[in-house]
């Protein structure tokens, strides 16, 4: 796992514990829509890989309902504790979180579905991780992932301040060795893990001066700031993090245009009913 992230697992200052992160809010409708298209249903048991703050597990929990169950795992205790607090605050009896490493998951072939959002992008070996996750699936089980294509975001017409911010983010991700096109590469990753070719869809969020995208970018840059400075990609004076969101908004107001977040790419497939390919 790299130490660079597009989203923070914990609550930010000024947020109540139950608030979803900005990226979670932007992505929520797309995740629900992909889950439904893929065939997530009431009564299913779902494994949420690298569950972070729990937002993806909560969406799955809504769909599987009171007779289903969602188990989220993450490798460090902080996100597990945080997501558990949020689940408790929402009174969710069908969603729980455990601490586990993907290489030593404490599950048998017991889940109807395994899901994850913007998680494989941080993995050094997504194929072997996915194979490990598939071992937790019943034969014929569902696999649903959403990952971004970081090279796809843009401003139309070109907004120079926003583009500079995007360049910083991409530089930081590139330095961290992140797979920029993980979304598209879900296709190869699924196949290499022994799954059939996935169905895939692209979703994206576009917004103007009045939307949440500038806040979202500013939040990401805030978490990247130490890396940006350490690698000499940008200085704190250049970034001026406290006014960054306002400057991006002013930029969009001036062009009258829009900015898009990187596209979110969903892929889903089923384990073969015999699952002999995973032996």
């Amino acid at each position: 796992m790299t130490n660079v992230s597009m989203h923070s697992a914990g609550a930010q200052p000024g947020e109540t514990v139950d608030e979803p992160s900005l990226s979670a809010r932007a992505f929520e409708p797309y995740t629900r829509s992909v889950f439904l298209q893929a065939g997530l249903e009431p009564g299913m048991r779902v494994l949420d890989a690298w569950s972070a703050g729990g937002d993806v597990a909560f969406i799955a929990g809504e769909i599987v309902g009171p007779y289903g169950e969602v188990v989220g795992f993450d490798q460090s205790p902080e996100p597990v504790a945080y997501a558990s607090r949020r689940a408790a605050a929402r009174g969710l009896a069908n969603v729980r979180f455990v601490q586990a490493d993907v290489a030593a998951l404490p599950f048998g072939a017991e889940f109807d579905a395994v899901v994850g959002r913007v998680v494989l992008i941080y993995r050094l070996d997504p194929v072997s991780d996915l194979k490990a996750l598939l071992r937790c699936l019943k034969p014929g089980g569902l696999v649903v992932f959403q990952e971004t294509d970081l090279l796809t975001g843009k401003t139309v017409p070109r907004a120079p301040v926003v583009e500079e911010v995007r360049d910083w983010m991409l530089d930081a991700f590139a330095h961290a060795g992140i797979e920029m096109e993980m979304g598209h590469k879900l296709y190869q990753t699924f196949k290499a893990a022994g799954l059939g070719p996935p169905r895939m869809e692209i979703d994206g969020f576009i917004g103007g001066v009045e939307d949440i995208s500038p806040a979202l970018f500013a939040r990401v840059v805030r978490t990247l700031l130490p890396q940006l400075e350490a690698k000499g990609l940008a200085t704190a004076e250049q970034v001026q993090i406290d006014t960054l969101e306002d400057r991006m908004r002013a930029d969009l107001a001036k062009t009258g245009g829009v900015m898009s977040t990187p596209l979110l790419i969903g892929a889903w497939s089923r384990l073969s009913a015999s699952s002999a390919n995973l032996a």
């Binding site: 196949k191 692209i202 994206g204 576009i206 245009g257």
Partner: protein
């Protein structure tokens, strides 16, 4: 309007004998999703412009027998074609009339919703036309438009036949004066038309060698072939349209690559009460 060939290349069926193109089928799904998300409902009256009938028929399904749809087409032939398809699908709540969308419409009815797909991009002054059309929407009514963004299409890992076809497409668009990156501009067009800032989203599909992607791309290039030759981007021999789909399929398969469809950008807003 620009030339018909420009419009056709985006997936309009050429004759009633032709089945719906792969691209039209893909975009139909996005139109249904968008209508549901924006709140098009049973009983509504809808004004639809210039899709060749496809979008009006989807709207007809949404509003049901207690609702109604008026589709504007710019030629008698298009009206006849769309009317025929409405009859085939048994949708008697959808009717089509011939009118020029850049002029005042020959009625002053107020509708619950105004919708259109892949139409504003062909107009010389889309904001002016949108402002005029929006006068036919009641206070609190919905405006929903979907326009493409072709600039994002790519293959990963990059495959030569796909990249080459995408380049031809971009170039035909550029020369024909149509904007291949029109979709994201809907935001500014809504505002310039005096409408509220729209909510926006992007939809697309990704295909491997076994999916609809190779057929979709080859079909678009087939429609553009006259333009590609005329602009001397490539000769018919170089394009080899008959084998293009297969070549794309083989290249994708060999590289285990995936390719994206053109993206459809949706923008929707509700007028103030």
């Amino acid at each position: 309007m620009t030339s018909e060939s420009t419009e056709f290349q985006l997936g309009h069926p050429q004759s009633e004998h032709e089945t719906l193109s792969v691209l039209s089928r893909t975009f139909q799904t996005f139109t249904r999703q968008q209508f549901a998300e924006a709140g098009l409902k049973e009983g509504m009256s809808v004004l639809e412009i210039g899709s060749g009938g496809d979008v009006a028929l989807i709207a007809g399904e949404f509003v049901g027998r207690s609702g109604s749809v008026v589709g504007i087409e710019q030629s008698r032939a298009a009206v006849d074609y769309a009317t025929h398809h409405a009859a085939v699908r048994g949708l008697d709540n959808v009717k089509f009339i011939e009118a020029h969308i850049e002029q005042d419409l020959p009625f002053d009815t107020q509708f619950d919703a105004l919708v259109g797909r892949i139409i504003l991009m062909f107009l010389p002054s889309p904001a002016v036309t949108l402002r005029r059309l929006a006068r036919h929407v009641r206070p609190g009514g919905l405006v929903i438009f979907q326009e493409p963004d072709m600039s994002w299409a790519k293959s990963v890992p990059s495959v030569p036949s796909v990249e080459q076809a995408a380049e031809w497409m971009q170039e035909v668009f550029r020369v024909s004066g149509a904007d291949s990156e029109f979709g994201p501009k809907l935001h500014g067009i809504f505002k310039a038309a005096g409408l509220p800032a729209p909510q926006m989203r992007v939809d697309g599909r990704i295909y491997g060698s076994e999916g609809d992607g190779p057929a979709l791309l080859a079909e678009s290039i087939r429609a553009m072939l006259p333009a590609i030759e005329q602009l001397k981007l490539a000769t018919a021999d170089e394009v080899s349209i008959k084998t293009l789909e297969d070549r794309i399929r083989v290249e994708l398969g060999a590289a285990d690559a995936s390719m994206s469809s053109p993206l459809l950008v949706s923008a929707w807003a509700r007028l103030p009460d």
